[in-house]
C-alpha cells in the first residue's frame, strides 16, 4: 500500500484527497472528488480515502465501486419509483372490481383497457409488486445501501477523529465560508472563542489555531437511517416464510363454531352474533349528507368466543373445547390470543339458514296450504314425509344457484346465498312424482301438468361474518427498522455538523467555516460570535448550477 505522508507529518492511506489531519489537498488525487475543476473543496467525506474510489481494478473492486456509487443508488430508486407508478396505472389483479364483467385477468385487462390493457397483462404488470424483477430491484437497493455505507463509514469516522485544529491554508481558503482579516487583537479572539462556546460549540486549540465544532453526531444520521432501511428489507424477506407470517380467512355464520384455519386445529371460534349498525338517518348533524349518500355503516362487530381444543393431540377424537376469550371484534379492534390476531374483515348479509315450503293445489287461487315442510339449508334431508301423506324428495340442491355459461343450473359456492331446489313431490298414494324447480323468484313446473304446486312460505336468514387470522412475527423487525430509520433521518436532518476554523496569520487571521447543511444557521452563529470585533464576516461563496 502506498501511504501518503503529508507535510504536516500525518500519514494518510492511499486514495486520500485531503490530509486527514490538516486538510491540505493531496496532489494527484484531486480528481477523485472533483476538486481540480472547482474553487471550493468537496467536503462530503472530508476527502477521506474510500475503497470504491481507490481500488478499481479487480472484478470485486468493480462490483464494489458500482454499488457504492450514489449515482447507481439513485438510478435504482428512480427505477423502483417508475415501476411503482406503472403498477397503479390499471388496478392490480387483487383490486379488479367485484362488479367487473370478468375477474379473470386474462380477460379483464383487454376487455376494459383494450390493447394497452392486454400488453399490461402480458408483461405481468398486473402483479407488479410481487414480480421477480421488482423484488430484485428492491434487493439491489439493499445491496447498494450496505456497500455504500461500509465504503464511507470507516474512512469518514477516522478522518473526523483525527482532524486537528491546525489546518492548511489552502484548505481554509477553499472553503465556502472564508474571510481574511489583517489586524486582530488577542481580546477579540478571546471573545469569539467565548461566544462560540456559549453557542455550544466544542472549542479546541493548538498553538493559537482554533477549531470550534458542534453537531458532529449528525454526520452519522445517514448511516443510521440506512441501517434502519436494511433491517426493513431483511424483515420483508423473513415475512415471506410461513413460520413468520400466516394469513387465513374464515367465514362463520351466526351461532356457528368452527376451527380457525392456520392454528393447526388448536383454536376454534364461535360467532355468537354479527352486528351491523348504521348511522341514524335522523341524526341532526348528518341528516343532509345521509340523504344524499344513503345509509352509512357505523359499526361492524362480531361477538365471538375463542376456544382452545384441549385434546387436539388425540387423532380423530371430537374436540373438547375450552373457552379462553370472549370478545367483541370490531373494525380497528381485533382480538388477540397467543400470538394470533383475528380481524373483522367482511360480512355476508342475508345468507339463508332455512326455508319452509307449502304444498297447495295448482288451481287453488288462494293457495291454501295442504301441507308444509322446512328444509335446513345446511343439513338438508333427502326426503321429507309429511303429515297428510305427501312425500317430498330433494332431487337437486343448489345452495348458491346460477346458470352457467352453457345454461345449466349450478352452484357458485357452497354457501346458501341463493338456494334453489329440484323437488319431487309424491302426492298421497302415488308413485309417480311431480317435479318442480323452485328458488327465490323462480317456480317452474317441469311438465306443466302438476296437480300440486310447491311454494316458498317462509325463510330464515342470518349474517355470516368474515374474519382474517394473522400471525406476523416480523412486525417487531419492521418496527425496529422504522424506528432506527426515523432516528437516523432526524439525527441527520434536524442537527447539522458545523465547524469554524481560526488560523492566525501574521497579525491577523483566516476565518473559515463549513457545515453539511443549513448555511444560514452557520452564518448567524458566526455573526453573533464576531459581533463588535474587528474580524471580517465570512464571505459566502456558493457555486450554484445553471
Amino acid at each position: 500500500m502506498n501511504k501518503i505522508k503529508c507535510e504536516c507529518g500525518h500519514i494518510n492511506p492511499e486514495g486520500t484527497v485531503l490530509c486527514e489531519a490538516c486538510g491540505k489537498p493531496i496532489e494527484g488525487n484531486q480528481h477523485i472528488d472533483g476538486n481540480d475543476k472547482k474553487l471550493l473543496l468537496n467536503m462530503r467525506y472530508e476527502g477521506s480515502a474510500r475503497r470504491s474510489q481507490t481500488y478499481r481494478k479487480s472484478f470485486v473492486d468493480k462490483v464494489w465501486s458500482f454499488f457504492s456509487s450514489v449515482k447507481v443508488g439513485v438510478w435504482l430508486i428512480v427505477l423502483a419509483l417508475v415501476a411503482s407508478m406503472i403498477g397503479t396505472l390499471f388496478p392490480q389483479q387483487q383490486f379488479i372490481p367485484p362488479n367487473a364483467e370478468s375477474r379473470d385477468p386474462a380477460v379483464y385487462y383487454e376487455a376494459q383497457f383494450g390493447m394497452v390493457g392486454k400488453i399490461y397483462y402480458q408483461l405481468g404488470f398486473h402483479e407488479m409488486y410481487s414480480s421477480w424483477w421488482y423484488l430484485i430491484l428492491l434487493g439491489l437497493i439493499g445491496v447498494s445501501l450496505v456497500i455504500c455505507s461500509l465504503d464511507r463509514f470507516v474512512p469518514l469516522y477516522k478522518a473526523l477523529k483525527i482532524q486537528k485544529p491546525r489546518r492548511h491554508e489552502t484548505f481554509l481558503n477553499r472553503q465556502r465560508f472564508f474571510s481574511e482579516t489583517e489586524e486582530v487583537s488577542k481580546a477579540d479572539i478571546g471573545q469569539v472563542k467565548e461566544k462560540l462556546r456559549k453557542q455550544r460549540y466544542k472549542v479546541t486549540e493548538q498553538n493559537g489555531h482554533i477549531l470550534a465544532e458542534k453537531g458532529r453526531f449528525s454526520r452519522w444520521g445517514p448511516y443510521v437511517n440506512h441501517i434502519g432501511l436494511i433491517i426493513i428489507l431483511l424483515a420483508a424477506i423473513l415475512r415471506s416464510t410461513p413460520i413468520m407470517f400466516t394469513d387465513e380467512y374464515v367465514w362463520v355464520r351466526d351461532g356457528e363454531t368452527t376451527v380457525i384455519p392456520g392454528t393447526k386445529g388448536d383454536y376454534y371460534v364461535e360467532n355468537k352474533q354479527f352486528i351491523l349498525d348504521t348511522h341514524d338517518p335522523e341524526d341532526e348533524r348528518f341528516k343532509d349528507a345521509l340523504e344524499i349518500s344513503g345509509a352509512v355503516a357505523s359499526n361492524f362487530q362480531t361477538d365471538v368466543v375463542i376456544y382452545k381444543a384441549t385434546n387436539n393431540d388425540v387423532p380423530g377424537a371430537k374436540p373438547e373445547l375450552e373457552p379462553i376469550l370472549t370478545e367483541s371484534i370490531q373494525m380497528n379492534k381485533p382480538a388477540k390470543f397467543n400470538g394470533y390476531t383475528l380481524y373483522q374483515s367482511g360480512y355476508q348479509p342475508n345468507e339463508f339458514s332455512s326455508m319452509t315450503f307449502k304444498i297447495h293445489e295448482t288451481d287453488d287461487e288462494d293457495a291454501t296450504a295442504i301441507d308444509s315442510f322446512t328444509i335446513n339449508l345446511f343439513e338438508p334431508e333427502s326426503e321429507y314425509i309429511l303429515d297428510n301423506g305427501f312425500r317430498a324428495v330433494i332431487d337437486q340442491y343448489y345452495p348458491d344457484y346460477y346458470l352457467d355459461d352453457d345454461g345449466i343450473p349450478a352452484s357458485e359456492t357452497n354457501y346458501p346465498r341463493n338456494p334453489a331446489f329440484v323437488l319431487a313431490v309424491y302426492p298421497p298414494e302415488t308413485s309417480l312424482p311431480e317435479v318442480s324447480f323452485i328458488g327465490i323468484g323462480r317456480n317452474i313446473d317441469a311438465t306443466g301438468e302438476n296437480e300440486y304446486k310447491v311454494a316458498i312460505q317462509d325463510f330464515e336468514t342470518h349474517f355470516v361474518s368474515g374474519m382474517t387470522l394473522r400471525v406476523d412475527r416480523t412486525l417487531i423487525f419492521f418496527g425496529l427498522g422504522a424506528a432506527i430509520f426515523m432516528i437516523g433521518v432526524i439525527q441527520g436532518m434536524y442537527w447539522q455538523h458545523r465547524r469554524v476554523w481560526i488560523h492566525p496569520k501574521n497579525n491577523g487571521l483566516l476565518l473559515a467555516a463549513h457545515t453539511n447543511k443549513n448555511w444560514f444557521g452557520l452564518a448567524r452563529d458566526i455573526e453573533k460570535a464576531i459581533e463588535k470585533t474587528n474580524i471580517k464576516m465570512v464571505e459566502a461563496r456558493q457555486e450554484l448550477d445553471k
Binding site: M85, R285, L290, F300, M486
Partner: protein, 396 residues
C-alpha cells in the same frame, strides 16, 4: 348561530385574512426600495395577519370537530382544507426561520387556491365509516398533512427560484416548462371558477349509465360536454352532451369527473389567455421583476431546508403511522393499495432529491425543478389517486 355555521364563517374569515396578509407581503417588496425599517413593519403586519388567519382556520377545525363529534378529516373537503391549513403552518414555520416576506406573496395565494379548491367538494357534515373511526385517523392524517405542508414550501421556493433565474429574453424549453407549471395553477383556478359559477346557477342534469353489472345514476353540476360512457340523459331542457367519455375510464362517476376536467381546462385556458393578453408577455416573465431583490442562494437554501424538515415528518405520517393503522384495521401494514404506492413514490422521489443534491451537487435550478415535481406528485396523490384511481382510501 350554530356550530356548523360558525365553523363555516371562521373558514371564510381565514380566507379573507390570508388575502389581506398577501397584500401586505406584497408591500414588503415595494418597501425594499425605500427604507429598511418600513419593510420590517409591513412584514410584521403581514405575518401577524397570517397567524390570525391560521387561528381562524384552527377555529374552523375545532368547531367543526365539536359539531360532528369526530376530527374533520373524513372526506375530500375536510382533508384538503386541512392540507391548506398545514401549508400555511409550513409557511409560518419557515418564515420565522428566515424572515422573508416575499415567500408569503407566493405561498399564501397558492394555499388559498387549495382551500378554495377544497370547498368545491360537498361540505355537509358526514358520519364516519367504521374504518376511519379511530384516533389513528387524526394521528396519521395530520402528520402527513404537516409534512406535505412543509414540502409545499420547498415547492414555493423552488418555483420562485425558477421564476427568478430562468432566462425570459427569448423562448426556450426551460421557460416553456415553467410556463406550463404556471398554466396548471390556472387550471385549478378554472376548476374553482366554473364550479362556483354553475353552482350559483344551481345547474343540475341527471344521467343514467351502466357500470359493470349495475345501473347507476349520476348528477352533473356542470353542463355535460362529455356524457358517461353509454349514458342516457334523464333531465330535460339542459344542454345535450357533445360526446361520450371513452370506455376505458374506470371507477365511480368517471364520466362526470372527466367532464369536470374538461370544464377546468376550458375555463383555465381562457383565464390564462386573458392574463397573457393583458400582460403582453409570458406569466413567468411578468413575475420575474418581482423577485429582483431576492437572493437566489437563499431561495435555494429554503427549498432544500424545507425538504430536510418535511421529509422525516412525511415519512413518519405517510409511511410509518399509515402502516401501524393499516395493521390495526386490516391486519396488514402494507397492501399495495394505489394510495399507499403513491405515498411510497413520493418518499422515493424526495429520497432521490436528497441524494442528488448531496452527491451529484444538484443545487439551484435542477433542484428547483425537482422541488416543483415533488409537490406535483403530492398533488397527484391527493387528486388523481383519490378521485380516479379509487382504492381503499377513496374519499369520493
Amino acid at each position: 348561530m350554530d356550530l356548523v355555521n360558525l365553523s363555516g364563517n371562521l373558514l371564510y374569515a381565514a380566507f379573507i385574512l390570508y388575502l389581506i396578509a398577501t397584500l401586505f407581503f406584497g408591500a414588503t417588496i415595494r418597501d425594499k426600495r425605500s427604507t429598511k425599517s418600513k419593510k420590517g413593519i409591513s412584514g410584521n403586519i403581514a405575518i401577524t395577519i397570517t397567524i390570525l388567519g391560521f387561528l381562524a382556520q384552527l377555529g374552523y377545525f375545532i368547531t367543526r370537530w365539536m359539531a360532528s363529534g369526530h376530527a374533520p378529516l373524513g372526506n375530500m373537503f375536510e382533508f384538503v382544507t386541512f392540507l391548506g391549513m398545514a401549508m400555511v403552518l409550513g409557511f409560518i414555520i419557515i418564515y420565522f426561520m428566515y424572515r422573508i416576506g416575499f415567500l408569503g406573496l407566493f405561498a399564501l395565494p397558492l394555499a388559498m387556491i387549495i382551500i378554495a379548491y377544497a370547498s368545491m367538494f360537498p361540505t355537509q357534515l358526514a358520519p364516519l365509516v367504521p374504518t376511519l373511526n379511530t384516533s389513528w385517523l387524526y394521528i396519521h392524517v395530520s402528520t402527513v398533512a404537516v409534512g406535505q405542508g412543509i414540502l409545499f414550501i420547498s415547492f414555493v421556493a423552488g418555483l420562485m427560484y425558477l421564476i427568478k433565474k430562468i432566462d425570459q429574453k427569448k423562448r426556450t424549453k426551460k421557460n416553456i416548462g415553467l410556463e406550463l407549471i404556471l398554466y396548471m395553477i390556472f387550471l385549478f383556478v378554472g376548476f374553482i371558477v366554473s364550479t362556483t359559477t354553475f353552482s350559483i346557477m344551481d345547474y343540475d342534469a341527471t344521467f343514467e349509465y351502466q357500470d359493470g353489472t349495475q345501473i347507476i345514476e349520476t348528477e352533473y353540476r356542470l353542463p355535460a360536454i362529455a356524457a358517461p360512457n353509454n349514458g342516457v340523459l334523464l333531465t330535460e331542457n339542459v344542454m345535450e352532451p357533445w360526446f361520450e367519455a371513452p370506455g376505458w375510464m374506470q371507477g365511480a362517476d368517471a364520466g362526470r369527473k372527466f367532464n369536470t376536467v374538461i370544464w377546468s381546462v376550458i375555463t383555465g385556458t381562457i383565464l390564462y389567455g386573458l392574463t397573457v393578453l393583458i400582460l403582453r408577455k409570458r406569466v413567468g416573465a411578468a413575475l420575474q421583476p418581482l423577485l429582483r431583490g431576492v437572493k437566489a442562494e437563499l431561495l435555494d437554501e429554503i427549498m432544500y431546508r424545507a425538504v430536510t424538515i418535511g421529509f422525516p415528518i412525511f415519512t413518519l405520517g405517510g409511511l410509518i403511522f399509515a402502516s401501524i393503522w393499516a395493521q390495526i384495521a386490516w391486519g396488514r401494514f402494507w397492501g399495495w393499495d394505489p394510495k399507499e404506492v403513491w405515498a411510497l413514490i413520493t418518499w422515493f422521489f424526495y429520497a432521490a432529491f436528497l441524494h442528488l443534491r448531496l452527491s451529484r451537487g444538484w443545487h439551484g435550478e435542477k433542484s428547483g425543478w425537482l422541488a416543483v415535481i415533488g409537490f406535483g406528485i403530492i398533488l397527484f396523490n391527493l387528486i388523481v389517486v383519490n378521485l380516479v384511481i379509487a382504492g381503499l382510501h377513496s374519499y369520493a
